[in-house]
């Protein structure tokens, strides 16, 4: 009898193991509006098909410039398509893109759920928030990031930074595909929440 019970439990375990199905990381196809005459802050999927600035530049019709903010030099590192491959793209880093004509750029990729983004104190960290973040607005992102002091987006309409410093309200609404900047009071690693 005892043997039968053991075998029954073993069979049930095999059944449970066999039926455990876990879905993949999430994939995305997004249409990112890029406006001519403006600096467009964009966030790419954490897994994308671009190794360097040249590959991104070549994929965007009418692209005139791809840039990243280099905290080490406190300068913009820009690629304007002249020659070479430009800078290497870093996972979860927001970029700026300029285009000669307004377009909706189709970008595809998927998420890296294990990626932890290092946010450095004293710097303006350019971050890509996952498209499937659980945060709806600046306040929720501010609350999720440890030691956060500021979350900002560039507003092309006003040509000003729209910053949330946690004082009150919810701040601006997060838009998939839009790059943001984050400041923190202490360096830490942030693994973004997501659906």
């Amino acid at each position: 009898m005892r043997t039968r019970v053991l075998l029954a439990i073993a069979a049930a375990l095999i059944l449970v193991v066999g039926m455990t199905a876990i879905a993949s990381n999430m994939g995305f196809k997004i249409s990112i509006p890029l406006t001519a005459g403006y600096t467009n802050f964009v966030s790419l999927p954490y897994y994308n098909n671009f190794a360097n600035a040249n590959e991104l530049y070549s994929d965007i019709a009418g692209c005139t410039e791809v840039s990243r903010w280099d905290n080490a030099t406190a300068l913009w590192d820009s690629y304007i398509g002249a020659r070479g491959t430009g800078f290497t793209l870093n996972e979860a880093e927001a970029l700026t893109v300029k285009v000669s004509g307004t377009i909706d750029w189709i970008c595809v990729g998927s998420h890296d759920p294990t990626y932890g983004l290092t946010l450095t104190t004293g710097y303006t960290n350019f971050v890509s928030v996952p498209y499937h973040t659980t945060c709806a607005n600046a306040n929720e992102l501010y609350t999720e990031i440890a030691n956060c002091t500021e979350v900002s987006r560039w507003d092309n309409g006003t040509a000003l930074w729209d910053s949330y410093i946690g004082a009150r309200g919810t701040g601006f609404t997060l838009t998939p595909g839009e790059g943001l900047t984050v400041k923190v009071a202490a360096t830490n690693t942030w693994t973004p929440s997501h659906y």
Partner: protein
């Protein structure tokens, strides 16, 4: 006695497999989830008992553009069937199955869905969905990836499995983190 030892050995192997799966699952989440009484009591999945399934592990999906289409590719076995889910919401509320694919890639030739489309791929094992005519539509039932999204749902789905036998008997079992599998309920 030999049978008893064999049974115990089989149990040990199975338990190890469950622990490995749980570790893999937790790594996919990127964080360890808490386990509380509320989630333990939740009954979250209904799966038919059928032929033995392959060990299903989360495939990592990558996307690339091909002309005006999107190609999805994932890790897995060419002989196995996978379900591709496609939705305009990251919550995948009320979305249909985009395709059932035998193999490890699929091309989405459809446009639409506005500015963003979300994709998921899961091994096909008939769970977490209901049928509506020719289309399989998600309703209130939990979906396979609920286990990999959100701490509370992760804890609930990961810990609880409901089983429905071919002759109508039902039962559910759960395993707490780091402990052996236990029966939660059983009805015939």
């Amino acid at each position: 006695m030999r049978t008893l030892k064999a049974g115990a050995g089989l149990c040990a192997v199975c338990f190890a497999a469950v622990v490995i799966l749980q570790i893999l699952h937790t790594e996919d989440l990127g964080e360890r989830t808490s386990f509380d009484a509320a989630s333990r009591n939740a009954i979250v999945e209904t799966v038919p008992v059928g032929p033995p399934q392959q060990l299903a592990i989360a495939p990592e999906v990558t996307l690339s553009k091909t002309d005006h289409s999107v190609e999805l590719a994932w890790q897995g076995q060419e002989v196995c069937e996978y379900i591709v889910y496609r939705c305009s919401s990251p919550r995948f509320d009320g979305c249909s199955v985009a395709a059932r694919v035998k193999g490890t890639s699929w091309v989405d030739k459809e446009g639409g869905f506005g500015s963003i489309i979300f994709y998921r791929v899961a091994p096909s094992n008939e769970e977490g969905r209901s049928s509506s005519g020719d289309r399989e539509v998600f309703g209130a039932e939990p979906r396979p990836w609920d286990a990999a999204s959100g701490q509370e749902r992760a804890a609930a789905v990961e810990e609880v499995k409901r089983l429905v036998g071919s002759n109508g008997e039902t039962g559910a079992m759960y395993h707490t983190q780091g402990s052996a599998l236990q029966w939660k309920e059983r009805k015939t």
